[in-house]
């Protein structure tokens, strides 16, 4: 593992969401969900003018609509996304992933970096997560309603693994133990190649414990407790570096990354796949339908300078 000083982080942290104000000029993409934290943009618009705020809305699994932009954006069409981004100008693009589904923000990140835009990703931590009224082991929290099942994210389809590669599964752990089990069943990683990644430090001190509790039995049954690695829960770059270390330690690995933890970790996985392009990584996602009121409150606000990070690594 490299020394920390050669692995800089590009994150601005705001203790409260109202301390954050994006620089004027450029555009701010966001979506409003029923989660309180996603609604901070209303306040933001009042105190930080001079930006073009564009609300996004998902259409089906592979499409999106943008406020003030007539065509439907095809999320599996680079041209379609590129046209949309081109219309936003060439100043800083803020992409607020707090209220966006993975299906929507991940292809935007890819295309923004590919297009050389100055991309900053915004994320607001929740104050708390909804607990289940009748909890089961590993399911103390009630965060998802259902799932569509495993399938690639738009613009992240992987087809070309070399046959007979060792299959690894890096699981970015969250609070829903069932999701890890599902990925293990579907991916069937080679024995001793399950790499759990726990968000630590967590958004709150007790969250890493919840993550381990929710997944502990599965990790134990798969002999993966000793393999747990840690990456700061709200830091995509920490997750990026952990994935880099796993790849470096296993040169013949085809690493599938299950995005079942925090969104910043998911962003780290997306970056690791594309900066630089790394065919040995494959993103796997179960397309959960999130519960409307899965979180309450808003806590820290984080702004990730993804373009600066990408340039530091050497570009997409």
């Amino acid at each position: 593992m490299e020394e920390l000083r050669s692995r800089p982080l590009f994150t601005a942290v705001y203790d409260a969401v109202d301390q954050f104000a994006p620089a004027s000029g450029g555009a701010y993409l966001y979506a409003a969900s029923e989660e309180e934290r996603s609604q901070h943009v209303t306040g933001l618009q009042a105190r930080a003018g001079g930006l073009r705020y564009v609300q996004l809305e998902q259409v089906g699994d592979f499409g999106a609509r943008a406020e003030g932009y007539a065509p439907e954006i095809g999320l599996r069409s680079q041209g379609s996304i590129g046209d949309f981004l081109a219309g936003l100008g060439d100043q800083t693009l803020y992409l607020d992933i707090t209220g966006l589904n993975h299906n929507l923000w991940a292809p935007l990140v890819r295309m923004a970096l590919q297009g050389g835009l100055a991309l900053k990703v915004v994320y607001v931590e929740p104050r708390s997560y909804a607990t289940s009224p009748s909890p089961r082991e590993g399911e103390q929290f009630e965060l998802s309603e259902s799932k569509r099942g495993i399938g690639p994210l738009p613009l992240f389809t992987s087809l070309a693994a070399r046959p007979r590669d060792t299959i690894g599964l890096a699981a970015l752990l969250g609070f829903e133990g069932a999701r890890l089990k599902y990925f293990i069943e579907q991916v069937q990683p080679t024995k001793d190649h399950l790499f759990p990644i726990v968000g630590m430090p967590g958004f709150r001190p007790e969250y890493p414990i919840h993550a381990v509790e929710a997944n502990g039995r599965t990790l134990s049954e798969n002999g993966a407790v000793q393999a747990i690695r840690f990456a700061r829960a709200n830091c995509p770059f920490s997750c990026y570096y952990v994935l880099t270390d796993i790849l470096a330690a296993h040169p013949n690995l085809h690493l599938k990354v299950a995005m079942i933890g925090t969104k910043p970790h998911a962003l780290g996985a997306v970056l690791r796949m594309i900066v630089p392009a790394t065919p040995a990584i494959e993103l796997v996602y179960d397309h959960v339908r999130r519960k409307a009121k899965r979180t309450s409150g808003a806590d820290h606000c984080l702004v990730y300078d993804v373009s600066a990070f990408s340039q530091m690594i050497g570009g997409i």
Binding site: D61, R76, Q78, G79, S134, R136, P152, A178, Q188
Partner: protein, 621 residues
């Protein structure tokens, strides 16, 4: 070395030789441990076969053993014998994360089918070319493709010209990368050049069987986890299966109920058995006895590495007679006042003392539920012995569940080889898990030889718990299935614990034939059967397909977890809404169902359900 250290070492060794029970985890050992099931020769024939079975039934093991890697290992890694093989199997596991990319609103269904066909051509030809590279490096008699032949193979897939096998390998990989790039930038107006369905495969295998080592041979395309294909993709592969033959054929592994369609691309043709393929249903192709024999063979061969003197694994799991079980459950405490309650009739007392403890317990229960004084019950038994003998026979197993009251510990024993076979419901992985877990617990406890009854039971509960916890991850329906089982399991537990005055051993359910079944619930029930949460069979002998026309039960592997009878006995009629309520409002629904069947939801949870105290709102004892 202390006993426990030795036991731990032995337990670790046992765990090691079973490799986590997954074919994928056994790696090379899978072949050395392989025991040929009775249906294996059917799979080695030249015709297409569909191997159907539940999770853990051995499909992957069998398909891997048909692959060239498997055949090489099974033939003693003898390079000189490769040319003598009758077939060469190419294994391909359907990867959900890839095949689900071939769907969406951007293209017409027919275009997705064409793209998928091309992808499948690329994948299967790549696997064949990998095989040729292996063959070149391994076999004593090698095969070469001329530059012209390589060029022709490449042209069937629209690849750049290739002059050698190595060129072809690289071109195939590059083509997959190009294809990936297209799927990451879908353009309905700019589809890539696509190969004809099955044509590259046909061209290459026809070419190969003209080469001396492969002359007269056949290539088996072994497609595992067929259920992962989307419906329109199964249509594509069904078509390939229908038109296979000659130089290649298909062997498909699929979970029960995983076949979404029998259609082919020709609307006038469907895939039918036996005309188009041989169906090998693992569940029904082996009788329970044949299954038990196969399992013994598998266990004996692997356990010999740990217990060199082992004669037969069956000897390690002695059966527990009912009367002995009653004694272990504390029946004497429950009948302590029996004789005193008979009064002073010496004949009655003498007859009462002739009765075995479990019979006395039965008489007491009967007295309570029929509100008949005990002396009258026993007198009636004395006078109508034949009638009471039948009655007792009907209830003797069921009343075991009612013996243990308000005390911690085992509430029902699950032990004996034949019981383990029944619990597994002919699923090989389950039977291996039960046996191995019991042996490991015994080893850790410093035991040698036969596994004590309590440890067998503990192992059964532990395996049940492990598999219950895995249900969540089985499918997209996992969470709801787990909740359904928790609800049904609790209801059947309450019925088992309170048998007095009710039909014994009710552990199945049905809906009646005329009920309206919500589509979501029908899907959930199908998923439950597919992923071994439930078992089902037709309510009558007609071949039926609707969910409401089956009888259902919780898979018997879970009986020791919830504590009810694993035996296939009696059923109750349930309303579909009652099942939905069990999932969505478990506590109220359990109490309501318990009331409906004349029970109360008062009983504490069995110890093994302690992790679900919050779910049920009850304490485990």
């Amino acid at each position: 070395m202390s006993t426990s250290t030795h036991g731990d070492t032995q337990a670790a060794l046992i765990a090691d030789v079973f490799g986590g029970f997954r074919a994928e985890w056994l790696s090379e050992n899978i072949f050395s441990y392989f025991k040929q099931p009775a249906y294996f020769p059917e799979l080695e024939t030249r015709r297409p076969c569909v191997l159907s079975g539940g999770r853990g039934s051995g499909k992957t093991t069998v398909l891997l053993c048909l692959s060239y890697e498997g055949q090489f290992a099974l033939h003693g890694r003898d390079a000189a014998r490769v040319k003598d093989w009758a077939y060469y199997g190419i294994y391909y596991r359907v990867d959900t994360n890839r095949v689900t990319a071939f769907a969406g609103p951007e293209l017409e269904p027919r275009q997705w089918q064409q793209l998928f066909s091309h992808y499948l051509n690329l994948v299967l030809v790549s696997r064949l070319v990998e095989f040729l590279a292996w063959h070149r490096a391994t076999a004593s008699e090698t095969v070469t493709l001329s530059a012209q032949e390589c060029r022709r193979v490449a042209s069937t897939l629209h690849l750049a010209p290739c002059a050698s096998l190595d060129d072809l390998r690289e071109a195939l990989f590059d083509a997959q990368l190009d294809f990936e790039a297209y799927l990451n930038n879908i353009d309905s107006a700019g589809l890539p050049k696509m190969s004809m369905q099955g044509a590259p495969l046909r061209y290459l295998t026809d070419l190969l069987v003209t080469k001396p080592p492969f002359a007269g041979k056949q290539f088996f395309l072994l497609i595992d986890e067929y259920e992962n294909l989307l419906e329109h993709q199964q249509v594509v592969v069904n078509t390939l299966v229908k038109h296979s033959g000659g130089s290649h054929t298909f062997k498909v592994g699929i979970k029960d109920l995983g076949w979404k369609t029998r259609a082919t691309l020709n609307p006038d043709q469907v895939l039918t058995s036996p005309a188009d393929y041989a169906l090998v249903d693992i569940g029904s192709s082996l009788s329970e006895e044949e299954f038990a024999t196969l399992a013994q063979s598998v266990l004996n061969s692997r356990l010999k590495q740990v217990f060199p003197d082992l004669a037969n694994v069956v000897d390690l799991f002695p059966e527990l007679p009912l009367d002995k079980e009653a004694e272990l459950l504390g029946v004497e405490d429950r009948i302590a006042a029996f004789t005193a309650r008979l009064g002073d009739d010496p004949h009655l007392i003498a007859f009462g003392q002739e009765l075995r403890p479990l019979q006395r317990f039965f008489a007491l229960l009967w007295s309570e539920t029929q509100s008949t004084p005990l002396p009258e019950v026993v007198r009636d038994w004395m006078r109508n012995r034949s009638e009471w003998s039948t009655r007792y026979e009907n209830y003797k197993y069921a009343i075991l569940f009612a013996i243990k009251r308000n005390k911690a510990g085992i509430r029902k024993y699950y032990c004996g080889w034949s019981v383990f076979v029944k619990l597994s419901a002919s699923n090989l992985r389950y039977l291996l898990e039960l046996s191995v877990q019991a042996l490991m617990l015994n080893a850790r406890a410093g035991g040698v030889g036969a596994v004590p009854f309590a440890l067998q039971t503990e192992a059964a509960a532990s395996v049940a718990a492990k598999n219950f916890h895995e249900i969540d991850g089985m499918s997209i329906h996992g969470g709801r299935l787990a909740k359904l089982l928790l609800g049904l399991g609790r209801v059947f537990y309450l019925m088992a614990r309170q048998p007095e005055g009710h039909a014994p051993e009710v552990n199945q359910f049905h809906f009646g034939g005329d009920v309206r079944m919500p589509k979501d619930l029908a899907t959930l029930l199908d998923a439950g059967v597919m992923h071994l949460a439930l078992v089902r069979w037709p309510s009558n002998k007609l071949a039926l397909s609707d969910a409401q026309q089956f009888d259902y039960a919780i898979h018997p592997i879970f009986a020791p977890f919830f504590t009810f009878s694993f035996r296939k006995k009696r059923k109750i009629k349930l309303d579909p809404d009652a099942l939905i309520e069990l999932i969505e409002h478990p506590r109220d629904a359990i109490a309501g169902l318990a009331r409906r069947v004349g029970r109360t939801d008062e009983d504490d949870l069995p110890e093994q359900l302690s992790l679900f105290e919050s779910y049920y709102g009850r304490v485990a004892v």
